[in-house]
């Protein structure tokens, strides 16, 4: 069984192996043992609330319970830009116009900004190659939104993700070559690595502070501004399906887009259901297609667990789960759980299972959004 749980110290080796296999381009998780260990420690402090809420870094592991091994990771950074400065370029338009001459010129312009400061970032998604497919990536990514919504006060209203921008196999980024490298004697992969090691703000000190007029950059560089790396396209589609949109900000190095959504608009949040767990002894057929599975979380802050169960286990008030699932989620019969569709098609399946009882909603402050949805039907 695959279960989401907080990342632990013992995951270091697995995490390192994954980071090393991922190679270049994963800025937030470089293959650096010390750095990874520091991240894990920060995550442990966050889950046990031993650090200030705004310093929180919530890292989740996807564990294969049979192998007792972490096979994926994803994270939420509670607030960016508070310890150091968080930079983006804002892609905006400068208009120069002269009525006298009948000239009206629109110039796309990059402005250095710190607009995402104090905002929650979803980050650090990484899945071992053997586990790709079957909805595992979705579980790893979307479980975060259930956590985010259950513990809203730890996070900002707005949530964003930085998408990896365009670079080639050799690690050359057209934007970096045309812009960053002119101010900083370093190739992109080196700058990117430094940035992952926590030196991004230092690098930003060397970057141009005045607006950059795009017509002054070569076409190759202009073409990649706001575009994602081919490998990141599925992740972008997933986030777009959740309601995330490009917000006009791009990465200062590679021009990758920032996408954002308000927490209450995120689809996983909107389409969540509250139920009580009912542990049943009769066997449950768990080998159903991803479309027929739903995420189920134990709604625990300190020991957050999520796995998937077949959609037809959902009853009007309860969700039937096996003893094995209950143990994995650290729950017993009668405990509240949260459910959300795993795949885009999962919603219709859940509709059928909804019934009329919304007992769980009464105990859940999030229930009203679900009621609104029912009211529309």
């Amino acid at each position: 069984m695959l279960v989401i749980r907080p990342l632990r110290e013992t995951d270091l080796d697995d995490l390192y192996a994954m980071a090393a296999a991922a190679g270049k381009g994963l800025t937030t998780l470089p293959a650096d043992r010390e750095l990874l260990q520091a991240k894990i420690r920060r995550a442990e402090e966050s889950f046990s609330q031993r650090c200030a809420p705004e310093a929180g870094l919530y890292l989740f592991a996807l564990e294969d319970t049979e192998l007792n091994k972490a096979v994926g990771i994803s994270g939420i950074e509670a607030r960016v830009g508070l310890q150091e400065v968080f930079y983006n370029y804002r892609l905006s338009v400068t208009v120069n116009a002269s009525k006298e001459l009948g000239v009206h010129v629109r110039t796309p312009t990059l402005h250095l900004s710190n607009d995402m400061t104090d905002t929650t970032e979803i980050c650090s998604l990484l899945l071992a190659n053997d586990y790709k497919g079957g909805g595992n990536g979705l579980l790893l990514s979307r479980c975060r939104f259930m956590y985010l919504d259950d513990f809203r006060k730890h996070f900002s209203e707005k949530v964003f993700a930085e998408m990896r921008g365009v670079s080639d196999e050799q690690g050359h980024s057209p934007l970096w070559d045309a812009l960053g490298s002119k101010f900083f004697d370093m190739d992109f992969s080196q700058a990117d690595r430094l940035s992952g090691l926590g030196n991004k703000a230092f690098i930003a000190e060397l970057m141009p502070k005045y607006p950059i007029y795009l017509p002054m950059l070569p076409d190759a560089a202009r073409a990649v501004i706001g575009r994602v790396h081919d490998n990141t396209r599925p992740a972008l589609s997933m986030l777009q399906a959740e309601g995330f949109n490009f917000n006009g900000l791009v990465d200062i190095f590679d021009g990758g887009p920032v996408v954002e959504a308000f927490a209450h608009n995120i689809r996983t949040v909107r389409e969540s259901l509250s139920r009580y767990a009912m542990v049943v002894n009769k066997p449950i057929n768990t080998s159903v297609a991803p479309e027929q599975r739903v995420m189920i979380s134990n709604r625990s802050f300190r020991d957050f667990r999520v796995t998937t169960v077949p959609v037809d286990c959902i009853g009007p008030d309860t969700v039937s789960i096996s003893r094995e699932v209950a143990e994995a989620l650290l729950i017993e019969s009668g405990d509240p759980v949260r459910l959300a569709p795993l795949k885009d098609g999962g919603l219709s399946a859940m509709h059928g299972a909804r019934g009329q009882g919304a007992a769980g909603d009464k105990s859940s402050p999030r229930g009203h959004s679900y009621r609104n949805r029912q009211g529309q039907r």
Partner: protein
Amino acid sequence: MWRVRPAKLDDLKPILRIVGAQAARLSSTLPKTEENLTRAIEQTQASLSPTHNNRKPRRFLFVLENTDTGEIGGTAGIDSRAGNGQPFYNYRRDYLIHASHELSVSRRVEVLYPSHALTDLSLLRSFTIKDELRKTSAFELLARARILFIASHRDWFSSHTVVEIQGIQHPDGRVPFWDSLGRHFFNMDFESADQYSGQLSKTFIAELMPPNPIYVTLLSDEAQQAMGQGHPLAEPSQQLLRQEGFHPGCFLDIFDGGPVLEVRTDSLKTLVTCQLKTLHGSHHDQGDQCLIAAGEGDQFRCLLAPVSETLSGDVKVPVNTWHGLEKTAGDQVRISPL
């Protein structure tokens, strides 16, 4: 005999002919249409008038005239205040250090800042001369006569004087600095922009020029090389101006990146070395060739003549020079050696 005097409306047609022959090769701030040139001459006349309001900027256009044939050989102008009451635009070439202590990296970054710093300084402009006169002493006469004019009307001019030297332009008309910068924002070719800046109010520059500083490293290599470089054809006048004490500072032309030369007005060599003398006649052509200027306002005349000095602060020049100067014996003149 060549002499320099303030332009009159009669000079309109001959000046336009010079402009027509020159425009393609060396652009100048000289107006190129009849209407604008008329205005420039009218402004000159108004600026020379004793009733001119002293708080208002003055603009002068002088012509190089052959007193024997009436031929006009060139023009030269002065604005008492650059911008003429409007902002005067330049780029200031400056540097920033981008440094990171943690990474022990430090980098010098060259930046062009839009600047109005030269507004209201005195400006030499509109220098145009016929090709066949370029290598003659008339060239120097035309260029330096303006400084003698400043010397005789010092109160009208500012503490500093500047002059914009035309920047690099390829024979096919391409202007690398413009192509890499201004073209993106003004959406027109260099010639049009240059023309507009000569004749329209400067409002269009304020409207179309990028408001933020420009990183030099993002300009094309060709444009970077052109920064602060004068056009080869402007080299003789640049040399002459340097001899006068002009030197390049940190300002560039916003269109072609040509250098702006600056000098303290009171340090202008011709202004410092010229002397007031009393005019007398001589009947021979001996003596050193000197610039000799006389007259105030619209009576200002400047020409070249062999001068022999006497001990008492008098100068002797050939009598026919008097006619050129429209002066007679006993009048005050200002002389400066060639």
